[in-house]
């Protein structure tokens, strides 16, 4: 692991982004308990180094698609957290005007093609975005985030094949948090993910997703390959999932000891802090200042969301079509 290739400002940005995701998710979990966020949500806490390490390579107009566990990817790609929080509260000021919710946050201005309620569905859509980039000659790249569960959906394999035969500028980022919902990945997945990708002649690599610098380094190569016409890459990133599958999940299929050890040993934020201090890149005061600033931003986002109006009832039937009759 090394943060030496990044500037001071970049290091701060990396930490701020990871901390923002962590505190966003922790706060959402708290707010769920008040009953003011409708429904349920899938939290990204623990996986921050993956989204941030990947998106650090992307330009504003590069594309990403996400999953049901999409808050982290959105934040890492630069989607405004005020609007995201408002979206979770179902308010008119939300990213999607309150009509999407947690599982459908999308912001095309930021190249964010949408979280998705259907496992693996983002993969072919992202192939399409990569095809647009290729045919329109824009030099954009597209990142398809997916989980370990998505690897057992047929459309994932179909997308690998399509991406390779069309040599699309795409990176498949498989975030393996060890569980598809409440079932352990090893119980349901045969073979290895990297070998699956390699069988399509798609270069692939396993990455420790608690180490943002390792993610950054692996993604750099993949994004460069995509931008230079070298076609798709697959990253298999191992990450911990701090909470259960969804916010209401009692998560009793993991033992208290396992969960404590995970948070103790695999916290990407502690690992980052420890490293940058050891090699004297950032000091405690700088890091704590970021924490404080993030806290204020999250507080502001929640307060603004709570104060915002729900969408008008007229919004029920608008935006179904550009034009219908």
């Amino acid at each position: 692991m090394s943060g030496l290739q990044l500037s001071h400002d970049k290091l701060i940005e990396v930490y701020r982004s990871m901390r923002t995701i962590r505190r966003f998710e922790e706060r959402v979990m708290d707010e769920m308990a008040t009953g003011d966020i409708p429904g349920n949500t899938h939290l990204y806490a623990g996986q921050e180094a993956s989204a941030v390490g990947v998106c650090l390579h992307l330009k504003e107009d590069d594309y990403i698609s996400s999953t049901h566990r999409g808050h982290g990817h959105s934040i890492a790609k630069g989607v405004d957290i005020d609007s995201m929080m408002a979206e979770l509260f179902g308010r008119a000021t939300g990213t999607c005007g309150g009509k999407g919710g947690s599982m459908h946050i999308a912001d095309l201005r930021k190249g964010m093609l949408g979280a998705n309620g259907i496992v693996a569905a983002g993969a072919p859509i992202t192939c399409g975005a990569a095809l647009s980039a290729k045919l329109l000659g824009t030099n954009q790249v597209a990142i398809a985030f997916a989980g370990d569960g998505a690897m057992n959906e047929g459309v994932m394999s179909e997308s690998f094949n399509l991406a390779k035969i069309w040599m699309l500028p795409i990176v498949f980022v498989i975030e393996d948090n060890g569980f598809g919902e409440a079932t352990a990945n090893e119980h349901v997945s045969a073979g290895s993910f990297t070998r699956r990708a390699e069988s399509y002649d798609i270069p692939s690599i396993e990455v420790d997703g608690t180490d943002v610098f390792q993610v950054y380094s692996a993604t750099g190569e993949a994004v460069e390959r995509a931008r230079n016409g070298g076609g798709p890459t697959m990253l298999h990133i191992h990450v911990p999932r701090y909470y259960g599958h969804y916010s209401g999940d009692p998560d009793n299929y993991r033992t208290p000891e396992e969960k404590a050890a995970m948070r103790q040993d695999r916290d990407c934020l502690s690992i980052f802090r420890k490293h940058v201090k050891e090699v004297s890149l950032l000091d405690t005061a700088e890091l704590d200042a970021v924490d404080e600033a993030v806290e204020a931003e999250i507080n502001r986002a929640v307060a603004a969301a709570r104060a915002a109006p729900f969408p008008p009832l007229s919004a029920l039937t608008t935006d179904v079509y550009v034009k219908y009759l």
């Binding site: 594309y63 259907i118 399409g128 647009s132 329109l136 079509y321 219908y324």
Partner: protein
């Protein structure tokens, strides 16, 4: 005006829009046929010859033969539509929507709504449909009702070459996802089709034939069946109006209601299975809005609630016939 086949009318529209707008691309299985092989290029010109010549005119980047991988390429077409292209994707037989319905129903249809109106998805999905080709149960269905049910999709089902061209041009220029259904038994039918481009707006029914005793509302290929029935009925002194909605979503409710108010007797003819169908949907609409004007029960002439059979005698019995339409008409027109 030139006489052209339904197939040629569609081919005209595809050529015209590909030439007019460089963002229009096409993808599907064997759109050309012979890709990667050593023999004839554009060997099939599409499974039914509809896309012939497009490869030569526009090249393999814009006319893309895909793997047999509907979920991937329909999803890719949806994603490309979201990001600046205007794809026309082809599902060889609409039955194959079974393996890519997620991308149609959960993704393309809902992007705009889920994203709070901040996206558009100018996607056309062309698919063949319909019975009559002795192809068994999985290459023959009429699934327009299924797509009509889904908000966010538009559903187009032309009955003749002129409409096929004008509606396809409209579909390609439309900013919403459109399911464009082509009955394979209509490809060789011929009609007057202008060479120049023209569009037919969605949600405008066509009055195929005027009449005063009964209104026959028919969908897709059934418009021809209804016309044939109407001609025979005329010789028996029954005057039948024939209406072709042309699109089932949006549906031209105004025209259907107006005609029902005026005539008071309605027969609906649809090749789809009858449960939860466009036929029952229209019937419910008319019963709800025109109850007082109705002089007789609304009659439906549809396929039975069964898959499409293979044996020729069974398949022929499956598809609504002019005789069946005449029988339904006579049951409500008092002579």
């Amino acid at each position: 005006m030139a006489k052209k086949s339904f197939r040629q009318a569609l081919n005209d529209a595809l050529h015209a829009e590909m030439a007019r707008d460089p963002r229009v691309i096409m993808m599907g299985e064997d759109l050309t046929g012979g890709a990667g092989a050593n023999g004839v290029k554009d060997a099939w010109g599409g499974p039914f010859g509809v896309t012939r010549g497009l490869l030569g005119a526009f090249g393999p980047e814009r006319v893309r033969d895909t793997p047999i991988s509907e979920a991937a390429f329909i999803g890719a077409a949806a994603g490309a539509a979201l990001t600046g292209l205007r794809p026309i994707a082809e599902i060889m037989f609409v039955d194959f929507a079974g393996v890519c319905l997620d991308q149609i129903m959960n993704q393309a249809a809902k992007f705009r709504y889920m994203f709070g109106g901040r996206a558009k998805t100018p996607l056309v999905i062309r698919a063949t449909y319909g019975a009559g080709s002795r192809s068994g149960s999985q290459h023959t269905q009429a699934l327009h009702s299924l797509f009509t049910h889904i908000p966010g999709l538009k559903v187009v089902i032309p009955s003749n070459p002129y409409d096929a061209k004008g509606l396809l041009l409209q579909a390609i220029r439309d900013d919403d996802p459109v399911i464009f259904l082509e009955h394979k038994m209509l490809y060789d039918t011929v009609g007057e089709v202008p060479d120049a481009s023209y569009t037919i707006p969605f949600g405008e029914a066509r009055v195929v034939r005027d009449g005063k005793d009964v209104a026959i509302i028919a969908i897709g290929r059934m418009v021809g069946v209804a016309e044939e029935a109407a001609r025979s009925l005329a010789s028996e002194g029954i005057s039948a109006c024939v209406l072709d909605p042309r699109t089932t979503s949006p549906l031209d409710e105004d025209t259907l209601l107006e005609v029902t108010e005026k005539i008071g007797r309605v027969v609906i003819v649809d090749e789809a299975n009858p449960r939860c169908s466009v036929a029952t949907d229209i019937s419910a609409l008319l019963a709800d809005q025109c109850f007082d004007a109705l002089k007789a029960p609304i009659k439906l002439v549809t396929a039975p609630h069964s898959p499409v059979p293979y044996a020729p005698n069974l398949e022929d019995a499956y598809i609504p016939t002019p005789a069946a339409v005449m029988k339904a008409v006579k049951s409500i027109v008092k002579r």
